[in-house]
Symmetry: C2
Subunit: 473 residues, 2 copies
């Protein structure tokens, strides 16, 4: 049966919650007296519909029904999850939660998105305090999995089950504390940043760069302690703590109250770290960390953003001058096989051969003048058919090159043959590829520019002297 | 001409520097009296060779020559970059740097990897202090781009040029300060983490989870300030600061010295943030952030790690039961097209059609019992040939399904036809795929198990009733 969530407060956080529930098949009732609420929710939903389905290799359930309720009572009617995300003012939240509890199902999970208050503060005037928990999410709520849960265990157990079914990561915080866990870190960094800006040490963009080109990339995958465990090496976490310890007392920040690194505390940290990561050797963790970093960095490359933009610039720098020689095929790709192209059979996935041949066609396009500027002018080539023969396996890290031969170039048509070789010469795969020149405005075929056509025909003429393999279809 | 780098101190950091230089075509001389140095450097190099080339779409230059020098003098001879990475003890570094300067080329960049000391401290006894700069990298040095540079501008200008050519991101720190920039943040978070562990609020693994399932994913791409700019929404950075401001004074951490949020400081932060990100509207930044997050999360999915492992589990949960119906093709894939599969033509890249058909074949394999357990037992299918016809464009977010028909199943051979449709029914692409059953031990073809063979033949028989399209090759 379709379940219903009530979202009280429809800002960025409430909207994110609404999107999570709605796109997971829940019906969602929103209550927010703000006349702009509907527009705001719409904007968050449009972001969520754009991005959340991209995370999965199969369909999400059909969306639930979204309604805007005219009263608290109407919003929470029939709801098995009620999420409060109103502004961060204690009295406001306390009053509202009392009102909600008076009209909601007593079996519903009643949760607050508060980033700072403790459940005991929020529960103060409630008849049934145990119903109220903190469920603190992170922006954008429709993409980031973390939800910090604080409060009574029975309610949290039910909440965890529901959040897990939404694909989220519920983290049960052991003891209530101002700002839970993650916001304490954010707060510490934010204060440090304020000092750096105030003292003229760094600008906001330098601060961001110091994070996203460095430890931010590590934290996306391992967080703080496991990262240090790897950095500490085979000597182990205790050794690392002993080394790092003294620096804690140096005047590195203006915030100097530091817990004493007693033997007990060292023992506690080291044994917790063993329990967390001890299933892997440091060598294994290094490899895992590096493979993750490669994946994250390559993802940012595709977006041409941050550290990924830097890598694309370096690609440009590394790119050899590709010249066409008469009576020789064109060397269109020279590269190694990245770790993230390997599938469960331990070799390069078949789709990546297609990617290499797609890149090979791009190199030919650049050579004949169908480069980025040409594409920006609204003209390009689309592939209409490929035939790939997989002759041998390709392993991670292996270096390969592709010889490309123009088989046919006539008006809008361009037919290419790619032969992918191991650096040592062994033939790994062949790709026949038919491309059609198109207008990116009409998305229909059209003739190339005179200059591109001339260069294409010239290359085709030169390649017509080359032998045509007898495996061609 | 090949350039030479001298690496003084061959631990994890020195080894990482050695790898960066060596894999970028520099000759590298290492000096480290530790008898284990050669083994340690070897281990770092093996990690770097495994991962660094994976970041690029073209070949790195050929590796330079690696030597272990028996003296400081021999190590720095002819070196145009000298990198000191010895333990973090001031007197040790000061003495060593004086010795190095006495024997090195006066035009060489002389750099220290120190994470805490200021250049003025390190330069104290040097004849030519301006030659020494801090070049503080981040572990793993062969993958993370950030290097904080502190010191005299002319030396830094030369250093930046060299580091950029290595594909790194040199960040010129405006004023010297203990621990530069990034380590101040790390230190602040580390202290906060020590308190949380000491007070029993969170274990090490809960701390790591609170980071890597939440803000760590944001920081990998945008850092701190730009993330808050987006969260603040259209109201702008000043409004965000006014909202966030009061919380700074709440008892959220034990480290309470906070700069006064004066009008001047607010103005400075807001205008720096405008300069940094003002080229994009908040809507644009949200879209950029979300697309980056999708890319990072999908990368972690491929590695089945952290937030990516969680997503894979959710895929399992979402996966529909795929049943074969007589006289109907098998519905092998139902999904939407993720953002990161789109190329410069604004549509799904041709290689991703291959990926979808590869996934479709996986679904058939699972159906006939060639599932993960079967693969783990050492048997699988490899694709030996595909032919793909691209009939229409596929756009981001579009939902598609694939009908798969077994064309032929005889012994080791399995021939599939995939037809990929838009959710509305429109045919987008067809894929003919020939697979061969293999042993993963011998990597040669062999017969499937009796049970897999029986199920394959049964499916082929049912599908033999279906019409065979006339476009088949």
């Amino acid at each position: 049966m379709t379940q219903t969530a009530a979202i009280i407060g429809g800002g960025v956080i409430g909207g994110g919650w609404a999107a999570r529930f709605l796109l997971s098949g829940w019906d969602v009732n929103i209550f927010d007296p703000d006349p702009e609420a509907e527009r705001k929710i719409d904007e968050v939903l449009s972001n969520a519909r754009h991005s959340l389905p991209s995370l999965f290799e199969t369909d999400l359930p059909g969306e639930g029904r979204l309604s805007f309720a005219s009263s608290l009572e109407a919003a929470v009617k029939g709801a098995s999850w009620i999420q409060e995300s109103v502004p961060e003012r204690l009295a406001l939240k306390q009053d509202l939660l009392v009102q909600v509890q008076a009209v909601c199902d007593s079996n519903a999970v009643l949760a607050s998105s508060t980033s700072g208050f403790k459940p005991s503060q929020l529960q103060q005037h409630m008849n049934n305090p145990a119903q109220l928990i903190v469920a603190h999410p992170f922006n954008p709520v429709y993409l980031l999995p973390l939800v910090e849960l604080v409060g009574d265990t029975p309610t949290i157990v039910r909440a965890k089950e529901i959040l897990a079914k939404l694909g989220m990561f519920p983290l049960h915080v052991r003891k209530e504390i101002d700002a839970h866990i993650a916001d304490r870190f954010l707060e510490a960094v934010w204060r440090e940043a304020l000092w750096l800006i105030k003292d003229g040490i760094a600008t906001t963009s330098e601060i961001d760069d110091a994070i996203r080109y460095g430890f931010g990339l590590r934290w996306a995958q391992m967080g703080l302690v496991e990262t240090y465990r790897v950095a500490g090496g085979e000597a182990g976490m205790k050794h690392f703590l002993a080394q790092f310890g003294p620096a804690l007392k140096w005047p590195w920040t203006k915030l100097m109250d530091v817990p004493e690194l007693t033997d007990d505390l060292i023992e506690r940290i080291a044994s917790q770290s063993d329990e967390q990561s001890g299933g892997y050797s440091i060598r294994q963790l290094e490899r895992i960390r590096d493979d993750n970093l490669v994946g994250i960095l390559r993802a940012l490359k595709t977006r041409n953003w941050g550290a990924g933009k830097l890598l694309n610039q370096h690609d440009q720098r590394l790119q050899p001058e590709r010249t066409a020689l008469d009576n020789k095929p064109f060397v269109s790709v020279t590269r190694s096989i990245p770790i993230d192209w390997i599938d469960y059979n331990g070799h390069m996935n078949e789709s990546r051969y297609g990617q290499i041949f797609s890149d090979a066609a791009d190199a030919i396009m650049a050579h004949i003048g169908a480069d980025q500027a040409y594409i920006d002018s609204g003209l390009s080539y689309f592939t209409v058919e490929t035939r790939i023969r997989y002759l041998d396996e390709t392993k991670p890290g292996e270096r390969i090159y592709v010889n490309t031969q123009v088989l046919d170039a006539e008006g809008k048509k361009l037919k290419l043959l790619h032969e992918m070789h191991h650096l040592g010469g062994r033939l790994l795969a062949t790709g026949e590829q038919m491309l059609i020149h198109v207008s990116l405005d009409t998305r229909r075929s059209c003739l190339p520019s005179a200059s591109v056509l001339a260069k294409t025909e010239q290359l085709a003429l030169a390649h017509s002297m080359l032998p045509r393999p007898d495996y061609l279809s």
